[in-house]
Symmetry: C2
Subunit: 206 residues, 2 copies
DNA sequence: TAGATTGTTAATCGATTAACAATC
DNA sequence: TAGATTGTTAATCGATTAACAATC
């Protein structure tokens, strides 16, 4: 609905969830104020960076006493589209899939885990919370089609991703330690814990 | 052991795990060759970027036929220190902790899950794989101390992180949707799936 | 007013891309 | 040799930081 926001820089987009994470559980009443330097300090950024980032958000003039927490929350919720229901399919009913499907935060941010799929026939039919694991082919049936806009492929990522894409999924969160190739119109975000572990350990060498 | 490597740029460090992920399961025999453009294409980078990145790796002259896969693997394994045992403590024996503790890849990359801890007395004593969940205080006892160099705090991250740091942990992988404040000497890497979900969904708006 | 903070513009810094000479 | 690819240097681009005027 934003009439025209001049494209948000990549680096800013990356930081938005962090801003929200900080604002959401700030230990102050909702109509108190925060200053740039508080946010910057808490997130390990310079206050310059925060000020620059905020120019990309449609924020009410901060006056001199900083920003009303309530207002910041509102703006961030809007720009991150947190209140919009996002239908989610999880592929892979192993431990990680299970952990995700029962991950409380997802609901809090309007991610609605609709279905959990697996290729392995031994897992199909088992229960995870209130969901029954279905065969991955389910996604191509009319009932599922177009209802899911985000999916999380675990192992055999590329093959699974291909099937998801052809069935109309518009966004993929890749949890596997491989790169997924996808057409431009499909957004792929990587979230690979193995990379993060390796990154951490190589940072620790220095 | 590296006598003096001129500090690797941050951006390169970030990409190293990706290079390795690609090289490790490339579909070619080990003593075949890869070219820059193959790597670049597979990872969605320009071949310029890959070439620049590789100048930071101690790589044998590529000659004209590209790089021997075997050699690249060797170099990346070395620079990522993959063969070095890294002792790991997982804090939080919930679904995510469970998923991590049984995550096969960790072993493959020499991460040795030594202990799994929780604050919740109801979980302490339960079994996860071959490990028994222990109380978080265990980390401060002499037996555990100095044995662990990486830990993964889940919920109540900051509080837990503080306890881990005082007990001598040198690296933290933060899985929680909060920022962890830590002294300079402790390396903290964030790996928050909730951020990644929000990032994906905000990328999908445009 | 004086002090502090915002919002914006300019300067710096780093990372990516392009260009090209050197090599096989 | 001609073509292709590497390794390196230079040019571009974007992101971060610094500086400062405007505001309360």
């Amino acid at each position: 609905m934003d009439t025209q926001t001049k494209a948000m820089p990549h680096a800013v987009t990356q930081r938005l969830p962090q801003y929200f994470a900080y604002i959401k559980d700030i230990k102050k009443p909702d109509d108190e104020y925060v200053h740039f330097h508080e946010i910057a300090y808490a997130l390990g950024l310079t206050s310059s960076t925060v000020r620059m980032d905020f120019t990309h958000l449609n924020i009410q003039d901060g006056g001199k006493h900083g920003y009303k927490i309530k207002h910041l929350k509102h703006v961030l919720i809007h720009v991150l589209d947190i209140n919009k229901k996002k239908r989610l399919a999880i592929v892979g009913a192993g431990n990680l899939g299970k952990a995700l499907a029962t991950h409380g935060n997802l609901e809090e941010y309007s991610f609605d885990v609709r279905t959990i799929l697996d290729i392995n026939p031994e897992l199909v039919g088992s229960k995870i919370g209130r969901l029954t694991v279905k065969n991955i082919d389910c996604l191509t049936t009319a009932r599922c089609k177009d209802k899911i806009n985000i999916a999380v492929p675990s192992s055999s990522a590329q093959e699974v991703a291909y099937r998801l894409i052809t069935s109309g999924v518009k966004g993929l969160l890749n949890l596997a330690f491989t790169r997924i190739v996808a057409p431009q119109k499909v957004v792929v975000a990587d979230s690979c814990i193995m990379s993060d572990f390796l990154r951490l350990s190589s940072l620790m060498i220095n």
